[in-house]
C-alpha cells in the first residue's frame, strides 16, 4: 500500500460531511450512529444506501418526466380562446417567432439537462455496480457537472410563475399554471436529491480494491 494514496476509509478514518474534520471511526456496532466530535453531524464513511436511494429517486424522476412533457405547462385564455402549451410547444413557438436563443435556453434547461442527468446518473450507478475501473477521474468530473447544472432546470417553473403574475387581465387574457408544472418541479427536485445521495467516493473504492 502506497502511503501517499490511501483513502480515509482504508486508514480507518472518517471525514465529516458537514465540517470536513477527519477523525478516527469509533468502534461501535453498525446500529449505532457515530457523530462528529467537532460539529455533531452524523458520521458515515460512505453516504448510507447511496446506490439504492439514488436509483429510487432517479426512477421517480424519470416517471415524473413523462407527464411533465406531455401535459400542458400553461393554459392561456385570450378573448374566449383557450390554448394549452407544453414545454416543447413553447420551444417551437420561440423558434417560429424568431427568438431562437430563448428556444435554446428553454430546450437546454427543461428537456436536455434533465435527460442528460438521467443518462449520466444511470451510467455512474451502473459503473459502480459493475465495478468498472475505467477513467475514475472523468466520472468524478461528470458527477460534479451533473450536481452543479441540475438546478437550472427550474427556470421553466419560474417562467410560469411570472407569466401567471403578469397576464391577469380578466376575460381579455389570463394565464394559469397547467398540470405539467408540478410534475416538472418534481423532476427537478428529485434529480437534485438523487445527485446529492450519490456518493462519488464509491467510484474510487472500486479502483482501490483492484489496485
Amino acid at each position: 500500500m502506497r502511503k501517499s494514496f490511501a483513502s480515509a476509509k482504508r486508514l480507518g478514518l472518517v471525514s465529516c460531511h458537514d465540517c470536513h474534520l477527519l477523525s478516527r471511526l469509533p468502534n461501535i456496532s453498525s446500529h449505532q450512529n457515530a457523530s462528529c466530535p467537532r460539529c455533531g453531524g452524523e458520521l458515515h464513511q460512505r453516504k448510507p444506501n447511496s446506490i439504492a436511494r439514488t436509483w429510487a429517486l432517479l426512477i421517480a424522476a424519470m416517471i415524473f418526466y413523462i407527464p411533465a412533457n406531455l401535459l400542458p405547462m400553461t393554459i392561456t385564455s385570450a378573448l374566449g380562446n383557450v390554448q394549452e402549451d407544453t414545454i416543447m410547444s413553447g420551444v417551437i413557438y420561440f423558434i417560429h417567432s424568431g427568438s431562437w436563443e430563448i428556444a435554446l435556453v428553454i430546450f437546454t434547461a427543461s428537456v436536455f439537462v434533465p435527460f442528460m442527468k438521467f443518462l449520466i446518473l444511470i451510467y455512474l450507478l451502473l459503473s459502480v455496480q459493475f465495478k468498472s475501473i475505467k477513467r475514475p477521474k472523468d466520472r468524478t468530473v461528470l458527477f460534479r457537472i451533473t450536481e452543479a447544472v441540475g438546478r437550472w432546470s427550474m427556470v421553466d417553473v419560474y417562467v410560469v410563475t411570472i407569466l401567471v403574475a403578469l397576464v391577469k387581465l380578466g376575460i381579455l387574457a389570463d394565464i394559469e399554471a397547467g398540470p405539467a408544472a408540478i410534475y416538472f418541479a418534481s423532476v427537478v427536485v428529485s434529480t437534485m436529491v438523487a445527485a446529492e445521495s450519490f456518493d462519488p467516493r464509491l467510484i474510487w473504492d472500486v479502483v482501490e480494491e483492484k489496485e
Binding site: 471525514s15 467537532r38 430563448i102 435556453v105 468524478t140 411570472i162 403574475a165 403578469l166
Partner: protein, 202 residues
C-alpha cells in the same frame, strides 16, 4: 484523536496533508481535482459587508414594483410576490410554496444565518447553536435559486414581447443586484476557518 493537518477529499476520499495556505488560494485534490478548501481573503469583514448590502437590496426587491405589463391603455403592475399569490389562489399550493422557498425564504434565511455566524466571529463571542445553524447553512445552499429566477424573468419578457410592453420596475434592478451581492457574500465564506473557530476551544 484529531488529524487537523490532514483532510480527506469529499469526492474521492483521498487523505492529503494540507500545508498552511496563504489567503486567496484554493487547495485541490491531487487525485480527482475536487476542491478541498479555499482560504479566503478577509472572510469575516467581506461576508458581513456583502450580507448587509444584500439585506437592504432584499427589502427593496420585495416592496417596490417588480414588473408592469402595458397593453394599450391597460397597465398591470406586479410585485415579486404576485406570482406566488396567484399560484396559491389557483390551488397550486405545492408549486407556490416551492417558488416561495427557493426564491424568497431560503435566500433570506441564508443572509440571517450569515449574520448570526459572522457577527459573533467578528466580536469574538461564542453563541449557542452556531454549530447546527452553520450546518443548516451548508445544506440549504443548493436550494437558493434567485439567479435562475432572474433567467426566468428574461424568458418571460421575451415571451410576452409580442403581446404587450413589459416595464421593469426598481425591484427588478434590486433583485438583479441582490443575486450578485449574495453570490459574493457566500463565496467570501471561509468554511474551513468558520469550522476551526466554531469548534475551536470547545
Amino acid at each position: 484523536m484529531r488529524y487537523m493537518h490532514q483532510i480527506a477529499c469529499h469526492e474521492c476520499d483521498l487523505v492529503q496533508d494540507i500545508p498552511p495556505m496563504p489567503a486567496g488560494t484554493t487547495a485541490k485534490c491531487v487525485r480527482c481535482g475536487g476542491v478541498l478548501f479555499s482560504a479566503k481573503v478577509d472572510s469575516i469583514n467581506r461576508t458581513l459587508a456583502w450580507t448587509v448590502a444584500g439585506l437592504v437590496l432584499y427589502c427593496v426587491a420585495v416592496t417596490f414594483p417588480f414588473l408592469a405589463m402595458k397593453s394599450g391603455s391597460i397597465i398591470k403592475e406586479t410585485g415579486l410576490l404576485t406570482g406566488v399569490e396567484n399560484l396559491f389562489s389557483q390551488g397550486e399550493t405545492v408549486l407556490a410554496s416551492l417558488v416561495l422557498l427557493t426564491c424568497l425564504l431560503i435566500p433570506l434565511l441564508q443572509m440571517f444565518i450569515l449574520l448570526f455566524i459572522f457577527i459573533p466571529l467578528k466580536i469574538n463571542m461564542r453563541v449557542k447553536y452556531s454549530i447546527p445553524v452553520f450546518r443548516l447553512f451548508q445544506h440549504i445552499n443548493p436550494w437558493s435559486m434567485m439567479e435562475i429566477y432572474l433567467l426566468g424573468i428574461l424568458v418571460a419578457i421575451v415571451k410576452l414581447a409580442k403581446m404587450a410592453t413589459i416595464v421593469p420596475g426598481l425591484a427588478v434592478v434590486a433583485f438583479g443586484l441582490l443575486v450578485i451581492v449574495l453570490t459574493f457574500a457566500i463565496s467570501s465564506v471561509d468554511k474551513h476557518m468558520v469550522w476551526e473557530r466554531l469548534g475551536g476551544e470547545s
